[in-house]
């Protein structure tokens, strides 16, 4: 497989995760897709500066962050809230509790500072290690830990009071 083909395949596979990362960053589905497209264009143009064998996702996420900082935020067109309240494939027993939790947490997430949304997105949603998240955000690992703790602390505090106990009782 040529380097170009490997690059293209990985980039194609990254599209859904890149869009979700962009949604965490922009808090708008429309802005997120604009940002995703711009990041893909830039990645294609600068393909030669990506080192095969290193993580493509980290590299493209950094591109997206830089684009958002430098340019797109100033020209954002829309600010529709995300509507991500699709609770997928649960067993139904506690779907009502889940629905409340999801709604609460979605609102709380939107209210977090950008740096906390991003670290949650990378670690909790994408499953990156602290070191990998630190590479994307270009901060020390300790900063990732403390941002994550603050972000989780705020989300946990805003969860319905019953959430922890119901789960503990199961």
């Amino acid at each position: 497989m040529s380097t170009n083909t490997a690059f293209s395949q990985q980039l194609v596979e990254l599209i859904p995760r890149l869009r979700r990362f962009a949604r965490s960053l922009t808090r708008s589905a429309a802005d997120a897709d604009d940002l995703t497209q711009a990041a893909i264009e830039r990645a294609l143009v600068h393909q030669a500066s990506w080192k095969p064998g290193t993580r493509l996702d980290s590299w493209v996420y950094r591109i997206a962050q830089n684009l958002w900082r430098d340019d797109l935020r100033a020209h954002r067109r829309r600010a529709e809230p995300l509507d991500g309240l699709e609770v997928a494939g649960e067993d139904g027993r506690d779907s009502f509790v889940r629905l409340i939790e999801v709604g609460e947490v979605a609102d709380s997430f939107q209210g977090l500072p950008e740096e906390q949304r991003l670290v949650l997105s990378l670690v909790v949603l994408d499953g990156l290690s602290y070191q990998e998240a630190a590479n994307v955000l270009e901060v020390p690992v300790g900063t990732v830990m403390s941002r994550l703790a603050r972000a989780r602390g705020r989300l946990a505090a805003q969860m319905p009071a019953s959430a922890g106990r119901l789960r503990a009782a199961k």
Binding site: S8, L11, E101, V124, L125, A149, R152, R167
Partner: protein, 223 residues
């Protein structure tokens, strides 16, 4: 050991070293408040994952996929059409786009067996077909299904457009100059022929993966 949020959060991610993980486990056993805090953090994680599902399987993803497969230098029409294609519907009919004879490689104006099979059966982006692959599909202004493909033949390699009429697939445009060189650059003006043919065909934006699979299953007859 005082179990603060930073310790609990790192414990949740299994990010502490072995001794610390064990120490937190032991401390949790006697600290009901911290246990509840940890459970709420876990519940928040689960709810966050449910509230931001992966966006996928839609038209935007199909277009981005097609864009990536075009490589670093997309033809003009795609650069202008891509993000706004969802809403745009360019009017226009074509009554037989004529190929400049010298740009039509032997055997391609009527597709050969490999190309015909790829056009019939291959989803866009599938790279299996002996140097022949489809980049995207769309419905032309006159209702015909058309597919933008890439092919390598003895006569040269490049991009072409094929549309399916009553007599099957017909190559309506072929441009050997669109092939990306080994350096990854294209000659100036590359892709112009395909650009022209695309805009003459008019029609709707690129089909998404689901629409394409459905059309393949129908043998490209109208729904």
């Amino acid at each position: 050991m005082e179990l603060n949020d930073e310790l609990l959060s790192a414990y949740l991610d299994n990010a502490l070293d072995e001794d610390q993980q064990a120490a937190v486990s032991a401390a949790l056993a006697t600290d009901a408040g911290a246990r509840l805090r940890l459970e709420r953090m876990q519940a928040a994680d689960r709810a966050l994952r449910a509230s931001l599902p992966l966006p996928q399987g839609d038209k935007f993803e199909a277009m981005m996929t097609a864009r990536i497969q075009m490589g670093r230098s997309a033809p003009r029409w795609q650069r202008t059409v891509l993000p706004w294609a969802l809403a745009a519907s360019v009017a226009g009919l074509v009554a037989g786009y004529m190929l400049p004879r010298e740009q039509s490689p032997a055997g391609l104006s009527a597709p050969d067996a490999v190309l015909a099979r790829v056009l019939d059966e291959a989803p866009s982006g599938d790279v299996a077909g002996q140097g022949t692959s489809v980049v995207l599909s769309f419905q032309a202004g006159d209702g015909r299904y058309c597919r933008l493909f890439r092919a390598a033949r003895d006569a040269g390699s490049g991009e072409g457009l094929a549309c399916r009429g009553t007599a099957g697939w017909q190559v309506v445009a072929w441009d050997a100059t669109t092939t990306t060189s080994t350096e990854g650059f294209r000659a100036a003006g590359a892709g112009m022929l395909i650009d022209g043919a695309m805009s003459e065909l008019g029609g709707r934006p690129a089909m998404d993966a689901g629409e394409e699979v459905a059309a393949i299953k129908r043998g490209w007859s109208k729904p």
